[in-house]
Amino acid sequence: MTDATTLAPAPWTGAPNCVKMQRSMPAEATPNREEDRLVARLRDRDPEVLHELYDRFGRTTFGFLLKTLRDRGAAEDVQQQVFLEVWRRSDSFDSERGRLLTWVMTIARSRAIDHMRRRVPEPIDPEVAARSAEGPSGAGEIEALADQWRMRALLDRLPTAQAQLLRLRFHAGFSQSEIAEREGIPLGTVKTRMVSGLRRLREMIEEENGR
């Protein structure tokens, strides 16, 4: 992929004021280039990049694996397998086919399914195994979980103020008025940041989906 392709803005179908916002925020137009640099370093076998990728995606993949496998030991093992595969298979990453997050999560999903399908049972504690029987059973459920955790990774990439706002609203359950009071910022600012955060998140999802 060339830089020109990478930097080309995603097709825009939204309101014109959003186009203006996108262009006025260069910091948000650079993730593709940053991702390309990470991939280039990965292919150059720069070990430090593995730490950067782990910082960026490790929490997401581990959360997904823990929820899917329902066994911390197994999740830790598979987590290491996932990043070993990221390291070993960096040549197979094709940025034309998807973003880095999608690729890493695809590996995590595949390894989780492998683990669950493994014919030889894992030597796990019976109590843990009993709980694992209540875990996701079908590929559809696993995909839904992976989708939730991809969302988590995208939330992590939002500007801090927007991410915090979304967390307060959708996790803590505060209304916008309550957030304004709690954070000591005008209600109008809360609403503006809320919409900006949602728009940015929407754009990132569309970028991940290749739209």
Binding site: T13, R45, G58, F62, P123, A129, Q176, M194, V195
Partner: protein
């Protein structure tokens, strides 16, 4: 427009009263761009509202273990540069013993070992001297009410297995007891059938040291000539009490 923009979040988050919501919806109907904007964000809001708490409270992942070919030698030790890269390991402090204190320590360790052995043997000892009674609990495919005991003889060379509450093995199936270790290695100890009463009591030889493995595992096997574990575990329990 700015005021309308601010209304988007309030509308999507359900924070407008009925009158305000109706007025906003009229604006949405009249403005295709606003409508498009609202429709783009609506499913996202729904997804965020359904995001489980555990996703927001993502756990800390374990430290990354670098693959061997990614671990670099320490830069301050040039002589290491010629050596192949190794997996990073935690360095444990080296214990250096002097002869006399060491002899004392050996005595202490032996005493602790004997006492520990007595505790392990005595804490769950069966009728046989030094025997260890271990419990197997239902797992995965085990029927509710399934239960088992493994009485490992004092010589650790055979075990009496007592199971109940299992489905009858019938024809074409049988149960097999295994030892599993941490790496997923396993060894089959023996096979038996379970009758209509769901019970069986058998004695099986143990050709290895049970403590080298972590669990006893009872599987339901198909009589198809495949010697591997079927993957259908019904009971499992630790090899130590």
């Amino acid at each position: 427009m700015s005021e309308t923009r601010d209304q988007i979040s309030s509308y999507l988050l359900g924070e407008l009263d009925a009158g305000e919501a109706a007025a906003f919806e009229r604006q949405v109907e009249a403005d295709p761009r606003l409508r498009e904007e609202v429709e783009r964000l609506r499913p996202l809001v729904a997804r965020l509202e359904q995001l489980p708490a555990e996703v927001w409270e993502a756990p800390q992942p374990p430290p990354l273990v670098l693959p061997e070919d990614a671990a670099r030698p320490a830069p301050t030790q040039p002589e290491d540069a010629a050596r192949p890269a190794r997996r990073r390991r935690l360095r444990l402090p080296t214990l250096t013993l002097r002869p006399l204190p060491a002899a004392g320590l050996v005595v202490v360790l032996l005493a602790v070992g004997v006492a520990g052995g007595l505790l392990i043997g005595g804490g769950s000892a069966g009728p046989e001297t030094g025997a260890t009674d271990l419990v197997l609990n239902r797992i995965d495919h085990g029927p509710s009410g399934a239960h088992g005991d493994v009485l490992v003889a004092g010589d650790r060379q055979h075990a009496r297995v007592d199971v109940s509450g299992l489905d009858p093995s019938g024809s074409g199936r049988f149960y097999e007891l295994w030892l599993l270790d941490e790496d997923g290695r396993m060894i089959g100890l023996g096979a038996f059938r379970v009758g209509a009463d769901g019970r069986a009591e058998v004695e099986l030889p143990i050709p290895v040291t049970p403590s080298r493995y972590r669990y006893f595992d009872l599987s339901l096997q198909e009589d198809n000539g495949d010697p591997a574990h079927s993957g259908v575990s019904v009971l499992r329990g630790p090899t130590s009490s």
